[in-house]
Amino acid sequence: MPKKINLSLIITLVVLVFLYLPIMTVVGLSFNTSSNSLIWKGFGFDWYQNIWTNEPIISSFQRTIFVALVTTFFSLLIGTTISIGLNKMKAGGFLRTFSTAPAIVPDLVLAIGLLTTFSTISLSLNLRTVIISHTVFCTAFVVAIVLARIGLMDPSIEEASTDLGAGPFKTLFKVTIPQLMPALIAGAVLSFTLSMDEFVIAFFTNGPETPTLPMVIYSMIRFGVTPEINVLGTLLLAISFVGVILAQRIGKVADSI
């Protein structure tokens, strides 16, 4: 084999180290018992125990989960409706691009756009505005995923249902939605993860009394390196990893149905 392959092997290994070293460092340090997270004192779960008594972290975590759940529900509902509608209307490129735009627009631009909208209609900033904003953002991803799946669907299958005497509701719930299931699951997992990890939009559209977890982490990081972040980072990492693996498993199972 030519020499170049060896060079790309080395670069690939460097890339993998580059991608995992920082994460692993955080994970490793989370088991440090020292109160200065940069000085290694000993292995232990001290900070894992401490974090459960840290009221701001726990309540912001609850808020984040709440926002992510409500966002997932509405994104899925609105996104699926829009997708099915767009498909029925045989809508062209413009409407499709328009409904997926929030996924492409930089989050900062979307965030200030939403902020100015809320202030124009005098909506006070709190978790409600975060949920609205995250729904706008996540719906775009749901539409992108569901539309792609609808595109793969044989249009005769819905016709077959009508031909065999089913009404529009039965066709929707017994034929269309079951076929979209893999996309709906993927959309739900994606919405939940995106909303849970989302910082920029929440930062602009949330009020000061109800920070979400990423906002709390942000303000903690601004004060420097602290042991709590190592632990939180490791926990979030674990949640994301489990989420991704779960999504793939469910995706595979759903696809085989």
Partner: protein
């Protein structure tokens, strides 16, 4: 006339500037195997979709047992469709696929189960009831599609290109099977196809479509032997189409000479004639009407290709023992009764 189950009257349907159906009329009898045959884009699928209820015509009528079919909603029409792609529900097992149509009726659960099992039995799908469609072969999937479509005991079953997705061997098997099932269930079949072999082997009668119009409706044999126009002559079976000039008693062709036939179209007009390959007899000649350019052995016969002095190409089925070599000159003769003039 009461034996006509379905009457289509002056049906016209346009998609934008394209006319899919232009003033189409036809009658289909009870228990008939009727084929709508034509090249793709000829309007046959549009007619099928109008009967099924997925399209609505711009004008015209469709009557079933002399009552209006078009005013019946798609889902309650006594008509079912077997889709070209089969359109089986991929997330349901075979039993649920077949019973789906019955669940949209007022039957009890027990009646649904009994009727579904009866159909599964008759169509020979017993061992597959618990499987998903993607676990079945193409031929088995088609049986499921067929079973699902006849489960509601429709008056008419529409079949969209029923054999096109199958390979040759299963195709022949399914032809026999379709005829058996049609006979057993006593349902009228309307088959849409672009494949003349499929239409000829399955149907009692065929409507030949071209560019949104019906060119001829007849039995397969009639279409082959007595096509009424050039399109049908060309589309059904293999035929030699030649340009000739009409005379008072028939026609005249530079290589075939004057031929007298039973009817005349008046003298001096340019006409088209059709002669089937099996109707021509070849005789060697030193300077004949044409020269053999190709001779291919094909089992019981020889396929001969001849180039006439008019540069027209003629195909002839000759006896396999005939001594006909590429390059030799031949004269052509035939029984004037076997010639069609348009």
């Amino acid at each position: 006339m009461s034996e006509d189950l379905l009457k289509v009257r002056n049906l016209t349907k346009k998609f934008g500037t394209i006319t899919a159906l232009n003033n189409v009329s036809l009658e289909i009898k009870n228990n008939e195997m009727f084929a709508l045959l034509g090249p793709s884009g000829c309007g046959k699928t549009t007619l099928l979709r109008i009967i099924a209820g997925f399209e609505y015509p711009d004008s015209g009528q469709v009557l079933i047992n002399d009552s209006d079919l078009l005013s019946i909603p798609t889902r309650t029409r006594p008509v079912n469709l077997m889709f070209q792609s089969y359109a089986l529900f991929p997330h349901m097992d075979i039993f649920s696929n077949i019973s789906y149509g019955l669940t949209n009726t007022s039957f009890t659960k027990e009646e649904i189960n009994n009727q579904t099992n009866e159909i599964i039995e008759k169509i020979g799908l017993g061992e597959h009831v618990k499987k998903k469609p993607n676990q079945l072969s193409g031929g088995q999937q088609q049986r499921v599609a067929l079973a699902r479509a006849i489960a509601r005991k429709p008056k008419i079953l529409l079949l969209d290109e029923p054999l096109s997705a199958l390979d040759k061997k299963i195709r022949q098997e399914m032809q026999v099977e379709l005829k058996r099932i049609q006979h057993e269930f006593g349902i009228t079949f309307i088959i849409v196809t672009h494949d003349q072999d499929e239409a000829i082997s399955l149907a009692n009668r065929i409507a030949v479509f071209d560019k949104g119009e019906i060119k001829q409706i007849s039995t397969p044999q009639e279409l082959y032997e007595n096509p009424t126009n050039e399109f049908v002559a060309n589309f059904i079976g293999e035929g030699n189409i030649l340009k000739a000039t009409s005379t008072n008693f028939g026609f005249e062709h530079p290589c075939l000479g004057k031929v007298n036939i039973s009817h005349s179209m008046g003298a001096g007009k340019s006409v088209t004639i059709l002669i089937r390959p099996e109707s021509i007899i070849l005789s060697p000649a030193t300077t004949g009407a044409g020269q053999i350019t190709d001779a291919v052995f094909a089992g019981a016969k020889k396929n001969i290709t001849i180039k006439l002095t008019t540069n027209e190409i003629v195909r002839v089925y000759a006896d396999k023992s005939a001594n006909l070599e590429v390059g030799s000159h031949v004269n052509l003769s035939f029984n004037p009764q076997d010639v069609r003039v348009f």
